[in-house]
Symmetry: C2
Subunit: 526 residues, 2 copies
């Protein structure tokens, strides 16, 4: 059994604190910089690579990071997780999202079943269902095919699946894999559901109600909204809805749904894109083969996370450098910057994944800690971000480490040549240029035009964003977040911080408030 120790109790932490800092303005310059750019690179699955040349490490710091990984037993802790230990100590639960895409260790039994077999069974059931929808065997009351699928869910039931759908929409259209358009309703703001319902043909729409507990307030409210719309259109709601939920939830075996597909308590919402939560909508939108390829990519990348050697384990290395930047260098935030419009909502998904997992102030034993944990995560796709917040990244008073993502080729394979280069070449030239601009900066007699440089970044680079590379990307960040949680000795798998607001909102609705809460409720017309 691995020993769980606080970050500031490790010898390697002291070593990292004492290590000489790297100055990227010199490390990345000239031929030495070129050598770094070539060699500080770890292969990932599906032809991706994680290049960390422009992160603030050198061979000495890398050695200390390896010592840290060993001393903190990070890969051993991962092994405990995938072998079925109760790693989610707060909620006393196993953590099994990796099992949706592969078996990394021993058979894991819970609730009396082999959980890998359970997840595969759900995938098979979803695949069968999706094929019947696509063939028209499952159709609307008039026997017409469903053309649109609408996911009703919030948080992890929304952000991940939505980001993955957007990531593959153009690819699917180009590769004859586009089966149904997908839409998403999440916010309890009724204008969200109203907007989506205004934009679709409900008679040809299939709705997926996604709620693990079957009791999520926002989601049930939006379901009710949708059912009203179906009823008003003279349709039988139960013929237009399926459920994704846990087997024990009140909606698991209800005649209100055409069918139900199951997840369980061992997969947190933010880690559920590979479960039925992502599986149903993605299999319906693009076909089960596409979803299977996505899972395969994630499974392949998960295997790289087993390596004890940090130069062969990109998620672990990314995690450790991030911890170094956060705790030793004191940087408060990390930006995720995909140079791919298809990844427009991937940063929003990572924002949840990372901030909800590691925004904690107590260790896994519930003891207060005296070091910082998860950073603020934000981002937008490049080149858009360059024309927005990059000013602060280049010349602001805080340093923000950057996680670039780039692909040699686009998805739609439509392009135009202007001023001697294609759009894709311009896109790639920009991300290459940004890495070097952030690292090296530029001297100028006019301080206003000078760039201090020494602003760290890494890049994950690949050939093209496909279902498999998307799966690998997702796995990378899920495992990075997990390793960082281990490094900080926190429980990355609960989210007690969301409870208080829920409790107080219920009090407002029940008119059981006092003090300032009464005033705010009145101010908002309640």
């Amino acid at each position: 059994m691995a020993e769980w120790k606080n970050f500031d109790c490790l010898a390697a932490t002291k070593e990292l604190e004492a290590a000489a800092k790297v100055d990227l303005t010199t490390a990345m310059a000239g031929e030495a910089g070129a050598t770094r750019a070539k060699t500080y690179c770890v292969p990932m699955a599906e032809g991706l690579a994680f290049n960390y040349a422009s992160r603030p490490v050198d061979d000495a710091i890398m050695a200390s990071l390896q010592k840290f990984a060993d001393e903190a037993e990070l890969t051993d802790k991962f092994a405990e997780l995938y072998n079925g230990a109760v790693v989610n100590t707060g909620e006393k639960r196993l953590v099994l999202h990796q099992l949706t895409r592969g078996q990394l260790g021993n058979t894991v039994t819970a609730d009396g079943v082999d959980k890998r077999a359970f997840y595969v069974e759900q995938q098979t059931r979803i695949a069968d269902f999706a094929k019947k929808v696509h063939s028209g065997e499952i159709a609307n009351a008039n026997g017409e095919k469903f053309t649109t699928v609408v996911q009703i869910g919030i948080g992890g039931s929304d952000l991940g699946p939505r980001a993955m759908y957007l990531a593959l929409e153009n690819w699917a259209k180009k590769n004859n894999a586009f089966k149904m358009e997908a839409k998403f309703i999440s916010n309890v703001d009724p204008d969200d559901a109203a907007g989506v319902l205004n934009s679709i043909d409900v008679a040809h729409s299939l709705f997926i109600l996604v709620s693990k507990s079957g009791t999520t307030l926002e989601t049930l409210t939006n379901e009710s909204f949708v059912k009203d719309a179906l009823k008003n259109a003279g349709l039988d709601a139960s013929k237009h809805m399926i459920a994704v939920t846990s087997e024990t939830s009140p909606i698991a075996h209800s005649s209100d749904y055409l069918d139900a597909f199951f997840m369980d308590d061992y997969i947190g919402g933010r880690f559920s894109s590979c479960s039925a939560v992502g599986g149903a909508v993605l299999s319906l939108a693009f076909g089960p083969e596409v979803f299977a390829a996505f899972l395969d990519g994630a499974a392949a990348e998960d295997k790289t996370a087993l390596n004890k050697d940090i130069t062969k384990n990109p998620a672990l290395l990314d995690a450790l450098i991030g911890v170094y930047e956060r705790n030793i260098l004191g940087y408060p935030a990390t930006a995720v910057l995909p140079y791919s419009q298809a990844l427009s909502r991937f940063p929003a998904h990572l924002q949840q994944l990372d901030m909800e997992s590691n925004g904690k102030s107590v260790n896994r034993f519930g003891e207060p800690i005296s070091y910082v944990t998860g950073p603020i995560i934000f981002g937008e796709p490049g080149t858009n971000g360059q024309h927005s917040f990059y000013q602060l990244l280049h010349q602001g008073t805080d340093i923000v480490p950057l996680q670039f993502i780039g692909f040699k080729n686009n998805q739609a394979e439509m392009d135009v040549d202007i001023q001697g280069s294609t759009s894709q070449q311009k896109l790639c030239a920009n991300v290459a240029a940004q890495i070097v601009a952030f690292a090296l900066g530029k001297k100028d007699d006019n301080n206003n035009k000078a760039f201090a440089g020494n602003r760290p970044s890494s890049i994950i680079v690949g050939d093209k964003l496909t279902p498999a590379t998307l799966g690998a990307l997702l796995s990378h960040f899920e495992n990075k977040v997990m390793f960082q949680g281990f490094a900080w000795n926190i429980n990355s798998f609960d989210q007690e911080g969301v409870q208080l607001g829920k409790v107080l909102a219920k009090k407002v609705l029940a008119k059981e408030t006092d003090g300032a809460l009464t005033v705010y409720a009145q101010m908002l017309g309640i």
Copy 2:
């Protein structure tokens, strides 16, 4: 003439540093908290109110903030700006975006013309053009009406207009003001244009090329992409495109466009939503009357920014409390959290507005400064964010001040009653609950379920998001950013930090690289 002094040279700054800190867990509790919630509130235009009860100030700190405003001559500096001084010292330009929506001071003459008259003239020309498009007087080659308008622009030509369009789409549909669907192409990633072109009927689409200089690489590339698509559809591109640009740009008087509408160098991209940049697309989408109401809301809110009394000037007060949180309390970021799905991209717009304006490390004279400036800005609409990154906001190790926005009523006026309350009531109950949860926290014997509280927030609250309230909201944040720039003695109106990346990207495309940049370029297939 106001005197421009660094933030750390002011007597009021020392006073603020020395002031006793406010603990919101006590200040916001009980009857005292209720009194704060009622009284720490400033009326805004259009029935909005700025409530700052849960920000970390008290009467003593407010008095020091007023001294700061007076000593730094913040409203005097605003007066210089709207009276036409060269406030953008870096680029030696006037700063006139407020003039697009009203005349706050003297007649401002530049380039030999009355600039207010110039902006009104452009609005009138756009209104006439939009009416002709809506009536079908301006139509496609077959005499059929245009049904879709597509904005081609990046940065300020994209984020602001896109956020405003989304903010009013549901409202317009409900209020018979929805004239044309709008789409946006921004990213140089060819998949962006491909995705939009795949989703529209080009034969009935009108494209707006938006580039102040007429030379923005991304925008010209996307224009070329669109022209190819029009040509391939057998259409005459010049009959489907208009331009928004400066009068001196190469595209200002070109037969490639049906018409051209003008902005100028005195309006930065991120401040251009009220100029022709936002005016053309919003007038086409919703009609010129809607755009006029939006401008009127902004103009009304601008007037509140004239007050020297910080308790009557919501933008100034919000700015000063933000500076206090950033520089005295040391908080690195601010989250923008609208409880309105319609404002889904408003945080992304504010991210540009704020981070590009105030992410600076030199003062307006080009001298290095030794205090922090603009924070990181991020956000997503509530209640979605509650199921995402709020975990870190409640229980993370860093404190992030929050800017809530809420409305008593929704736009679409469709709602559903479930568990005894409507969706809208649930939405409003949640934002009220969050303010109090963040301020007061909650003790618990289980540290994992405990909330430290003392996490500041304010809320802008209104009756409904309409064109006029949206204009007022936009003005509030534009003026807040401006006042913060004045407080930090920086130039908020240039963006030299975006230049280096552009220069290096050009070198990559010209194959004029060396060192690490060559390696990165090769890695990305160039």
